[in-house]
Symmetry: D2
Subunit: 168 residues, 4 copies
C-alpha cells in the first residue's frame, strides 16, 4: 500500500453558516469519490463534521485531528481519531499532514490554519470566501493561495496540483 | 463507520534488536488480522517499520505519527502519515491516540512513550522486556502495566481490555 | 516575587521592513521601561530581535520562545531561551504566555499568531498595519482587536487593559 | 545581557515525598545562589513548587512551564509562567530549555522527562533515587546519566558540566 493522499478540509465549527456546511458536505463527498482521505479538525460541529459526513456518503476514509486529550465533542464521522491534547496548536499538524488544504468559511481557528499552511509552504484553496479574506491571504501567501468558487473547480485544482507535484 | 480501534506498537528505531523486529512484525500481523488499526512512530526503522510491515501482511491499515514536518525517513509501510514537526513531543500524540499500547524493546524514546502513557492513564503491555524495565515501570505504573511474554498472550490481553472497557 | 506581566511583541522575521524594526525597537524599550517582560519568537531577525534589543535599552528582561530544539538562529537579545522544537506550533505558546499581544508588520507566521490569539480570547493590538489586515482581523476578532497608530498609544492601551483586568 | 543558564529541576507533583520536597527546596536555593535560573513544570505541588520556593530564598529567578492554557494550579513561586496548553507534551520543552537537568523523586511524568532528556542528548543528574531507577536509566542513557547523593555534590556536577561545555 502506498501512502494515501490526504486532503485537509478546514473551516469553522460552531460558527459555520448553513451554506459553509452544505459546501463542506459536497466537497467531502467529491474528495472521497476521488479516493483521497479527508482530514479535518475532528470536532462534532460545522465544516469539520459536515465534510466527514460527506466523505462517508462517498465511501471515504476520514481522519479527525482533535484538540483534546479525549474524544469528548469529537465527531462520530471521524474514523480515525488522532488525539493531541494540544488545543489549537494541533492546527499545525492538520496543515502539515495534508497534501493540499481547502478552506470553507472563516473564523479565528480557521484563519490560523490558513496562515500556518502558508508559513509551511502548503497550497491553500479558498472556497466561498469574501473579498477581504481573499485579499488578506493573497497579500501574505501570494502564489500559494488559490481561489475557487465551486466544489467542481476545487476538485479540478486538487487534481492539477497532485498531478504536477507527484505528492508522495 | 464507527471509530476504529487503534493499537499503538512502540519500540526502538535504529537500536531495535533483530528479535524486537521479528516480534513486532508478528504482532503487527496479528493485530491487523483482528481488524485493529496499527499506530507507530512512523519512522523507517526498527519496531515501527517492522510492525507496520507485519500489519500489511495481515491486510491492516497503518498510521505513522512522525516527528518531522516532512516525510523524510518515514516508513513506506505507513499508509497514513501524520506529520507533527514536534520531534519527540509527538510521543504524547502516539500515546493519546492509541486505545492500548504494546511496547517491544527499550530505548530512551520508547521509555518516554511508556511513561507518558502511564501519566495519561493508558494501559501498557510490556512485551519482551528485561527484569529491570519491568520492575521500574511496575513501580511507577502499578496496575496500568501488564507483562506479556508472547504475541498470542498480548493479543489475548488486548481483547480482554477492549471487551471490558468498550473503548469507543 | 509575583508573576511578571508579559507583553508579547510579534511580527515578521526576515521579511520585516526597516520601519517595522524601528517601531519594534521603540516599543520594546517603552515596554521594558514600564517593568513588563518582553516575549517574542526569539529569532535573530526582524521584529523579534529589534523588540528585544529595545527592551535591553530599557533594561528589561526578554524571553524568546524558539521554534527549534537548539539555539541556532536565536537572538543574542533573548535572555531566556525557551526551546520548543515544535516549529510554528510554538506560536500558540507565545500567545498563551503573553498577557497582551502587540503585532507590528505582517507575514504568514505573524498572521497565525494573531489568529491563535483571537481564538484563545487574547487582546491583540495591531500597530502599523494596513487597511486590509485591520478589516480582516476585525471581522474575525471583533472587540478583541484594537488598532493603534503609535508606540505611545500602544503603551496607553496596555496600561488600560492591565488595570481593568488585574492580570495575574 | 547574555543568555541565562537554566537548570531544570524535575520531580513529582502531588506524589512527592516530604524528603523529595526538602531536597528540592535546598537545591533550588543553592542553584539560585549560583546565579542560575530555575526551570520547573510550574505547578503548585511537590518538587516543582518546593524548588522554586527555595530559589526565591536564594533570590533567584524562576520559570514555570505549565501544561495548561491558563494559570490554574500554577505555583505562586513561578515568576515567569510559560503557558503551553499541551499537557504532558510540555515535558519536552522543559527538557530542551534546560542546560542541565536534576531529577528528585520519581513518578510517571518525571520518568517521561528523564527519558525525553536522554533522547535529546541532555545530561541528567539523578538525585535521591532508588536502585531500580538508577539501573533502568543507566541502561538506556549510559554516560548521559549521573548519580548524585547530595545537594552539594549536585551543584559540583553542574559546575563541572557548565565549565566544560561552555553552554551558551
Amino acid at each position: 500500500m502506498a501512502r494515501k493522499t490526504i486532503v485537509g478540509i478546514m473551516g469553522p465549527g460552531e460558527n459555520a453558516t448553513p451554506e459553509d456546511n452544505e459546501i463542506a458536505f459536497e466537497l467531502g463527498k467529491a474528495v472521497a469519490e476521488h479516493g483521497w482521505v479527508i482530514l479535518t479538525g475532528g470536532r462534532s460541529f460545522g465544516v469539520m463534521d459536515a465534510a466527514m459526513k460527506g466523505a462517508h456518503e462517498g465511501n471515504g476514509l476520514t481522519i479527525g485531528v482533535l484538540p483534546n486529550d479525549n474524544s469528548v465533542n469529537s465527531s462520530d464521522n471521524a474514523d480515525i481519531k488522532i488525539l493531541t491534547g494540544m488545543g489549537s496548536a494541533r492546527n499545525m499538524i492538520n496543515v502539515l499532514s495534508s497534501h493540499v488544504i481547502v478552506v470553507i468559511g472563516m473564523a479565528a481557528g480557521t484563519a490560523s490554519e490558513v496562515a500556518l499552511a502558508l508559513k509551511s509552504n502548503k497550497k491553500v484553496i479558498l472556497l466561498n470566501q469574501d473579498e477581504i479574506t481573499i485579499r488578506f491571504f493573497k497579500n501574505i501567501g501570494t502564489y500559494k493561495v488559490m481561489v475557487s468558487s465551486s466544489v467542481s473547480e476545487t476538485i479540478a485544482m486538487i487534481k492539477d496540483y497532485l498531478s504536477v507535484y507527484h505528492v508522495y
